[in-house]
Amino acid sequence: MVDLTALTLADARTRLRARDIRAVDLTQAYLDAMARRRDWNAYVTETPEKALAMAQAADERLDAGEARPLDGLPIGMKDLFCTEGTLTTAGSHILDGFTPPYESTVSGKLWDAGAVCLGKTNLDEFAMGSANITSYHGPVTNPWTRPADNKPLVPGGSSGGSAAAVAGRLCIAATGTDTGGSIRQPASFTGICGIKPTYGRCSRFGIVAFASSLDQAGAMARTVEDCALMLEAMAGFDPNDSTSAEMAVPDWTAACGEPVAGLKVGIPAEYRVDGMDPEIDAVWRQGIDWLKAQGAEIKDISLPHTKYALPAYYIIAPAEASSNLARYDGMRYGLRVKGKNLAETYAKTRGEGFGDEVQRRVLIGTYALSAGYYDAYYLKAQKVRRLIADDFHKTFTGVDVILTPTAPSAAFREGEKADDPVAMYLNDVFTVPTSLAGLPAMSVPGGLNGQGLPLGLQLIGRPWDEATVLRAGAAVERAAKFDVTPYGLEQA
């Protein structure tokens, strides 16, 4: 008897089509696993009835030989995507009881492709965080532990619930959203793959907004090919999102199998930061060797404005968030805490409804946009953003893809960085420049550090060139031969 939750998405897809396994059994196996591991808190809302009904319908189509691209594959949906008739929380108290009367474009496309909804995965509140500890619905636990002490670690964030669910076999794949690293950093922390496509690839319609010019949906799964299969179903032009691009969706799954001989891979000097963990550096060098061994050409490159990316990001993202979150005022939906008058109702609703990190960013953003400070902060940050994008554009005339570490550390314990917001922001140092430039990037597991925790490698591509990112990612994956199963799960 095959362990259903150990199958990759691609493998399960083949077996479903061959009718070796049934979608209902696969779905039930995941629902059972979810019930066993509620202690990880990977899901905010589980939707077992909906899942089984969708699986049933998928089996009927599969039986009839009318298989859709992802028919019968059970996935987790980050709880930032609005789902019609299913509670959508964005990890916040302020959206208490909010059930959208509409479906986000990306989740709708996945259901149309036949994917089965297991539930809504936990996340940092409004996707603001890098450890999944700011959720109103409680922190998420990483399925990985350090074998030496076996104490719980954070899964990274903000797509921490999705990452933990994929790594811990509580879904076959999941959606994420990435504003400054929210897919790639948790993928690195949990030893899975995660891709953020080019800004404009996936529609933002129906995704609760954090920072509109940076937010982008993407896929998280246990293999590069699984990510490609998911992304093919998620991407595409949407007339409901003015920033979505009218571009055809290529065959990304095929790209995963193409060799990398002759591919020019850039290694940016600026990512070798002062005080860098030698183990991160080691896995990076290992990645370079792997690609070189497969015939890629390694080139040293420079992205001179990299060091300004994090400060610029922490102006632009909060500025947009301060405006995007203004609609949560207790008037129409979600939480309302009544005060003596209108101003007090606003203050109490938002004071109780938003957690500390969200309030911090709303304050920073409001300040950065205020009269007398707009030019010095927001406008200047936009200019920096332009310089960072220009760095990449110039570089991509000489290289095809860039290889860097995904995050400056492995997963940490909840208390280790939580008290210092700036230390937390530094988690995004390698992922934020790509987000500011709108480029596609993915994290692929590169190996384990000395404490036995996964470390990810990041591949960054030209705009709209997800194909090369996936192709190079698959090459790293083939060489790394990474065992994606967290300790203790092998025998499950």
Binding site: F81, C82, T88, A90, F98, P100, P101, Y102, S104, Y199, G200, R204, F205, G206, I207, V208, A209, A211, S212, S213, P239, N240, D241, S242, T243, A245, E246, A319, E320, S322, S323, L325, A326, R327, D329, M331, R332, Y333, L342, Y346, T366, L369, S370, A371, G372, Y373, Y374, D375, A376, Y378, L379, K380, Q382, R385, R386, A389, A437, G438, L439, P463
Partner: protein, 439 residues
């Protein structure tokens, strides 16, 4: 026809500009597919976008843009082929998103002219500063319920044109002629029904006065809610006389927003400049810059009904921009760069803001000034954070880039920079006196 008011100290002249909000005739709202019919049952014409639901995104309704361009052509105005929607942020229950999508630095339509038909057969040109497109808010109904305000969002998201005139109007009668002519043009073009009773045409008046022969403008007040032809003249006349009386009795006019009370026929203070909202405008990241091509404009122009005088709009041409994830930023930059070089005053973005620039000038209190031997004048300013700051000439205070020009025994003279739109700025002198409020 020169209109003047005789005061005790001499002859006065009115200086007035009008800001008109005209509801666009269109079947659907500016950024959603919802209907715009007037008089529907409350909240029956509301899409999730208009209600500010999570994750909802605006998409520009081209029909509304065409109507605004037609209006611009009718006003012989420059059509900007690139314009930018920005967010104007403030909280109010009838504003579901917590911001209004409007245009600020880069409006759809630039300078134009409207000709008044004077009774003596002459015509007088009134400059049009700009026309921009924005969302309307919903309606708050304060009287419908004993202890609650009810909100109707049917109007939320309906397209408005804000048409701003230059301060070229010199009498209450000219203001009425302006409104009549504008309404005629709008109705003629079929872009707004001009119905003031239903609120599809609304008017705010900026009024100041000056002595006959003066060339500079004095401080103006903005009069809100002037919503019939009859009230336009009455509100301006009342406000001008109020300001003249203030000047003649030794007072000063404070820049403020005033509300016209049509029952009493007078204006009363709504909020001072210090209480004015900081709207935190910034380009809406959900929308790309709005681009028009020549063929499109030509198509709209050729379908216009024949106007009394031929229309030759000036056009600014911008390089067409490729759509890319990096588009929003270069688009803005190019739009700024391809305009005739602006050489007037502007704030220096590289200057670090001073500690007193986080406060409105009105919230700052000068507790004293002193001429220090060998150093010169210093002022001691008490701020809302409880700290008393020492400032010297050349330093900055307030939220309008106020550079301290002079400190003396009576207070501080500031030179502020006030945005005039489209990246232009205006210098304004402002005196802050030591107040002996006894507190």
């Amino acid at each position: 026809m020169t209109y003047t008011i005789e005061g005790a100290t001499g002859t006065w002249e009115i200086v007035c500009g009008l800001e008109v909000h005209a509801q666009v005739i269109s079947t659907a709202k500016l950024f959603s597919g919802a209907s715009t019919t007037y008089g529907g049952a409350p909240n029956s014409q509301v899409s999730p976008i208009d209600a500010g639901m999570p994750g909802m995104l605006p998409v520009v309704n081209r029909e509304c843009i065409a109507q605004a361009v037609r209006t611009g052509l009718g006003l012989r105005a420059r059509i900007n082929k690139v314009s930018v929607f920005e967010r104007k942020n403030y909280f109010y229950p009838d504003l579901p998103q917590g911001y209004q999508i409007s245009q600020y630095q880069h409006p759809l339509v630039g300078e134009g002219t409207l000709y008044l038909d004077l009774p003596d057969g002459d015509s007088k040109p009134i400059g049009i500063t700009r026309l921009h497109v924005e969302q309307d808010a919903g309606k708050s109904m304060h009287d419908a319920h004993d202890d609650a305000t009810l909100i109707d969002l049917n109007r939320s998201g309906v397209a408005l044109m804000e048409i701003v005139s230059e301060p070229d109007i010199r009498s209450p009668d000219e203001a009425v002629l302006y409104m009549r002519k504008l309404r005629t043009i709008l109705r003629y073009l079929g872009t707004c029904d001009g119905n003031m009773e239903e609120g599809s045409l609304r008017c705010d008046a900026n009024v100041s006065v000056r002595k006959a022969g003066e060339t500079d403008f004095r401080t103006r007040c903005e009069i809100k809610n002037v919503n019939s032809m009859r009230f336009v003249a009455r509100a301006i006349e009342y406000e001008a006389k109020r300001q003249i009386e203030l000047y003649e009795t030794g007072g000063t006019v404070e820049q403020e927003t005033r509300l016209f009370d049509s029952q009493k026929g007078e204006t009363r203070s709504m909020r001072s400049k210090e209480e004015a909202h900081d709207y935190r405008y910034f380009p809406d990241p959900d929308l790309l810059p709005l681009e028009l091509d020549d063929a499109e404009i030509e198509e709209w122009r050729s379908a216009l009904p024949e106007l009394p005088e031929p229309v030759e709009p000036m056009q600014v041409s911008f390089e067409a921009m490729q759509r890319s994830p990096f588009g929003a930023i270069p688009a803005l930059r190019e739009a700024q760069e391809s305009k005739p070089e602006y050489t007037g005053p502007k704030p220096d973005p590289d200057r670090e803001p001073g500690p007193l620039e986080q406060f409105a000038v009105g919230s700052l209190k000068i507790v004293g000034t002193m001429n220090l031997p060998g150093k010169g004048w210093r002022a001691y300013v008490s701020a809302p954070d409880g700290v008393v700051y020492t400032v010297a000439p050349g330093e900055y205070m307030g939220q309008q880039y106020g550079r301290i020009e002079e400190i003396g025994p009576n207070g501080i003279v500031l030179r502020e920079l006030v945005p005039r739109g489209e990246g232009r700025w205006e210098r304004r002198k402002r005196t802050v006196e030591i107040k002996s409020t006894g507190g």
